[in-house]
């Protein structure tokens, strides 16, 4: 690998810093880890070929936008309503809580795509509602509203399952 200049090092640093959240977001859009991985790598390879991020002010938000576009383009080529892959893990769980990871993933899968995207962008992408509104071309109020709904649904879904498991 011949990427040694400053811009390349910066892009690689961005990949290490934001790669996991970008991958999760791409998974939330495409529903499949392999396609999500392709979308993220496609974005970063293009950046490496170009050599820089140019005059981008908010690099993190820009990366999420690029990954979303790549994932959506990929989805257009394939089946837009492909179901989420139930077998591939999305998270590294705390204290090897794999049941919790599966529970969270299933709860995310149940969410409508637009709510799931907002959820992932805010919780794991650590983007503000303003950044998300720019990224998704929505008003901040809409984003905040979708987030509240998503959070409530996710909590209900996760703890309803846990409680039902505990009761049975």
């Amino acid at each position: 690998m011949q990427r040694t200049d400053g811009n390349t090092a910066e892009i690689e640093l961005l990949y290490r810093q934001h790669g996991p959240a970008l991958l999760l977001f791409a998974q939330a859009v495409t529903g499949e880890r392999a396609r999500a991985q392709d979308a993220v790598q496609q974005v970063f390879l293009k950046l490496l070929e170009k050599g820089s991020l140019g005059q981008v002010a908010d690099k993190k938000a820009y990366l999420f936008t690029c990954v979303r576009n790549a994932a959506l383009n990929d989805s257009k080529r394939r089946d837009r309503n492909a179901p989420l892959d139930p077998d591939s893990a999305w998270f590294s769980p705390p204290n090897r809580d794999y049941a919790g990871e599966q529970n969270l993933r299933r709860a995310l899968e149940i969410l409508p795509s637009e709510q799931r995207q907002v959820m992932v962008l805010h919780i794991w992408g650590e983007l503000t509602f303003l950044q998300i509104s720019d990224l998704l071309d929505l008003s901040s109020n809409t984003v905040a509203s979708r987030y509240r709904y998503a959070l409530a649904k996710l909590r209900d879904s996760m703890f309803a399952k846990e409680n039902s498991c505990a009761n049975s």
């Binding site: 690689e12 990949y15 790669g19 959240a21 991958l23 490496l48 070929e49 050599g51 590294s92 919780i123």
Partner: protein, 134 residues
Amino acid sequence: MPTLDDERFEAYLKQFRPLVPDPLPAVEPNRGARRKFVLGAWVAAAVAIVVLGALTFRIRTNRARVTENVVNVGNPGHLQDRQPLTMRGANALMAKAPSFKAMVDGMAFRSQAVPLPKGRRSAVAVLGKEKIKL
């Protein structure tokens, strides 16, 4: 398990870390540098073609000159006299030529490229216009 409030639930969710993506595959050094190299190669090829063309043209021109010189070897005076044929020149040729054939040759191979000075006329042109009755 008790239901958590929003902040605690968010903190709980953040404990789940997204998986690290696969490392980026190796890419070619720099496509820009490669493009420059390809462009440079094309330019070099174009220059080489132009130089070769110029050399070929020069060699052919030299060959033509050599051939012309070889043809005119038998008549060295003809090489020096590049003036167009005039009546005066034709008369001089008639007087000086060792034979009739040499005289005709001297008239026939005169260059017509150089325009005649004012007041002079080409003997060939005059002879060409004359209606000879046999």
